[in-house]
Symmetry: none
Subunit: 196 residues, 4 copies
């Protein structure tokens, strides 16, 4: 569907979601306010409550949008796996891409952080639970497929372990203000998958 063929209402709604997603990445959940989103999206303040019944709904949409962007990227990445990527190092990068998003750019840390912020925030914002859970499931099956396609199928429990290792490594890196959590996760994955 091209921009021209998208109804204006849909486009506006989408603009709001994208503005909210940006703010979420930049400033976390605390930065999501009607005013801020409206200004960022360059729409009147009242449009925010016109398109979303409450701020919670907008937040939910932004979280879902962000995560789906990541998943889409990872899925398309999965299509392009070549024979050459069956090596352990290559698989590790695929996993990191899937969990943390594409290799670190300037905004890399922000995106990584957001994943964990969202997860934690869910505990205090029960309305996010369905989204978070759903997204979690999708990530799990994505990981499964990565391993399956690269010639080393893993049982669900083992997939969960891999995911936990990545998540734990990142959280640990965050604690130490380590500027490269991806590298921390890479190291741990390497050691964990060594025997595989």
């Amino acid at each position: 569907m091209t921009a021209a063929s998208t109804p204006k209402g849909e486009r506006r709604k989408q603009a709001l979601i994208e503005a909210a997603a940006q703010l979420l990445a930049e400033g976390g959940f605390g930065a999501l306010r009607h005013r801020a989103v409206a200004e960022r999206a360059d729409v009147p303040l009242a449009a925010t409550t016109y398109y979303f019944d409450s701020l919670d709904e907008l937040i939910t949409a932004a979280v879902r949008y962000t995560a789906e962007q990541e998943l889409n990227y990872s899925r398309s990445r999965l299509e392009r796996i070549t024979e050459g990527e069956h090596a352990t190092e290559a698989v590790i990068e695929l996993v990191l891409d899937a969990v943390l998003g594409p290799a670190p750019s300037s905004e890399g840390l922000e995106r990584t952080l957001l994943r964990y912020e969202g997860l934690i925030a869910t505990s205090r914002r029960p309305y996010l639970a369905p989204v978070t859970k759903d997204l979690g499931r999708q990530l799990h099956s994505l990981l499964s497929e990565i391993f399956a396609r690269t010639g080393r199928p893993l049982k669900d429990d083992r997939v969960r372990q891999v995911l936990a290792l990545v998540d734990g490594a990142v959280v640990g890196a965050l604690i130490e203000s380590n500027p490269d959590p991806r590298q921390a996760a890479r190291v741990m994955l390497a050691s964990a998958l060594a025997g595989e």
Copy 2:
């Protein structure tokens, strides 16, 4: 130091910190407001800004206080390790106690959650970094000692891995709204330490 010998100012400050720590555990960072803390501590509203230049300072103190409580508990727990606790299952419980706090009571989940909330929040609140980093180091050495004392010394990297596994397991459990993150971590640790 008895109550009588503690200057009033110090006592008030401490009361504020404890009140803030309570609110932090109950409602997360978003629940920390001057008014709420003052009411909980039963001090005048203005005392909150009198004893702490800003809300941030108070938050920092509350985070430090909370974490130190946890570490103290873990350290004292370490003293009481018996021969019988050298079995793998016992060590796992020691580790879980150290990282997540004492075995789950009614408020168990809250404490666990707070650990990760605090870690994540640090990324958005740079002023928390020193506290978080310091506490992270202390936890690391605590874990090292647990393994050393139970007859299975671990290299730093391996300790980091164990910690990552626990953290990752908990985060994963949180995603799935799993009400017992401790159990999730227990399972993963068991499988990871099996060969040890």
Copy 3:
């Protein structure tokens, strides 16, 4: 006139009026909002301003509709007066029915309240004056007829007095949160008509 023969516009207008009348009874004048009326009538929001130039017009229509319903009921009630109802007690009930609506059902209080709310509101909403005045006149003549038909014709001033007594009794009951204003009015009427 059957539904089929009623132009769509007329039917919609009527649906709006009835929805507004319902809301008026349930929540008073303050509860009348475009959105609420449209939802209750199950018509598009914009229909409310399409069929009524302003909210005031819609309110007026709702007030008139409500009062006319009451009067219709009372008039039909009047038709069915039997010989046996010539006793004072019976006449009192007729009067109460006429002024306050049919004997209290679950929604009895609401209807009663609405009468006085409407009267008072008129002072602040001059556009209601014609409706209110007209309805007042009709009620007066209804009362006159009740007395005439039951064998005790009353002069206009006396009718006015009776009406005042009922109104005053109800208002008084409302002050005391008396849940049965009808009974209060009954008692007063009884004592006032004793000598008649």
Copy 4:
């Protein structure tokens, strides 16, 4: 207590109440908004919620203040009753003063209206019930005393009847857009007390 000796806070609170009472008289309950009150009292907007936890509280205070002003006037009026006022006509005026406030000035109608608006509003605003009830009792005893002091003691029921008659007359006048409800009540009272 002079203005100088009144603490500033009390004076402000009082200013807010008086501003609210004015607005109440001028525009009814619907006119009572934070902004309007603050502007009228010439205080910052936030002062309205500083002195009154909610708008409801402020409304309640305004209602009570208004009614108490009326009662005070009536009570002081009662002190000054002379022998000459024992005539029925004089007593009637005393009653009208007590119920409706001092004889009509330019703002006479407004004050009269407010009494009934307040009463009716109570049904939709339960938080006003205590105030309304209390004020009702005071008015009742005031009326009793008027009759007692002018040599014609009345039983409670009879007092209630007199009050109902006045209230009913006023409501009736309001229906007819009669600009002089006081006169309507006067006429009815005269006829009712004729035999006394």
